[in-house]
Symmetry: C2
Subunit: 187 residues, 2 copies
């Protein structure tokens, strides 16, 4: 939808990085006035909610430089150009957790921060994940710990704000809505 469209009068490229590009646009507002819009361009991201055969959720803990601390998240990664989100999902699951899956279900997509960034996050559910026999090397600069939790433990982490990440909070709420613990029973 283009309601209240803001036409670009001029666009200045501020930064062209590995993960983000930054632009400042001069726009024409619906009332004819002008304004500046700061925006971050991002290729999008994919996250996976991995569930073991025993019904545990697999989380990763990693240092997030923007926050200057390590946080607990579901596995996720940047969508590579022209890559199908399902492929990114399986790759990130394998690299970050050492598990793989043949049961990937689409859950939802959402913009993470539409006020200043175009990042679109795709979320998948991976049931009955299988331990890989050999680990797959991920990014050189990623250091990750794996944490397996029951849904009850994860809900406690959310309540205590030890989990406080949009995709991960969403994932825990989503699993709770699925009438767990029947989710992971093979039928």
């Amino acid at each position: 939808m283009k309601k209240f469209e803001e036409k670009t009068l001029d666009s200045q490229s501020i930064y062209d990085g590995k993960i983000i590009k930054v632009h400042v646009d001069d726009v024409r507002l619906p009332d004819g006035n002008t304004a500046k819009r700061e925006r971050v361009e991002h290729s999008g991201a994919v996250a996976v909610i991995p569930i073991t055969e025993e019904g545990k959720i697999v989380f990763v803990e990693q240092y997030r430089k923007p926050l200057e601390k390590s946080i607990i998240e579901i596995p996720a990664g940047k969508l590579e150009q022209d890559e199908a989100p399902e492929k990114t999902a399986v790759r990130e699951l394998e690299e970050e957790t050492g598990y793989t899956t043949h049961e990937l279900e689409y859950v939802a997509s959402f913009y993470t921060s539409p006020g200043f960034a175009d990042e679109l996050m795709h979320i998948y559910l991976a049931k009955n994940i299988i331990k890989l026999e050999e680990t797959i090397a991920g990014d050189d600069d990623e250091f990750i710990d794996i944490i397996e939790m029951t849904l009850e433990e994860a809900e406690k982490c959310v309540k205590e704000e030890r989990i406080h990440d949009a995709k991960t909070n969403y994932a825990v709420l989503y699993l709770a809505s699925l009438n767990w613990p029947h989710l992971n029973k093979r039928s």
Copy 2:
């Protein structure tokens, strides 16, 4: 937690804007190697889930320049420096929807995109919202339409991906978990 801490060796300021600041850091990784980290600094945001006395959810539709389209969201705004999130919540509710509230409940806080940004989003529930007699002027450059929906209508919008925004998807899932429609009954 500081597990896998990435010590800053050097930090370059790329952009200092109205909404975001952008930095590129050189960091020392846990294995002794170095890497670059791009990060966006943001003051944080507050969102409100507004529920009318009739049990409808109030959404706003506005143009989001980073997406080049207008989307449906719950009311939200940038946290001003040293401002209590509850105050931002009521102000944004009043400015964006013309409603106010005396019943603000904390729901959750989460980082929207911890891979590249430090934005922390605080979410509140506002029950039994009251129409203001006079409208309050918001930001000059904000053009907003108000959309009131039942939970069922909102869930349909999520399914059809007409709602696809992290805080808003979370809000709809959260309301569904509250054993609606009893949520808004005055007791």
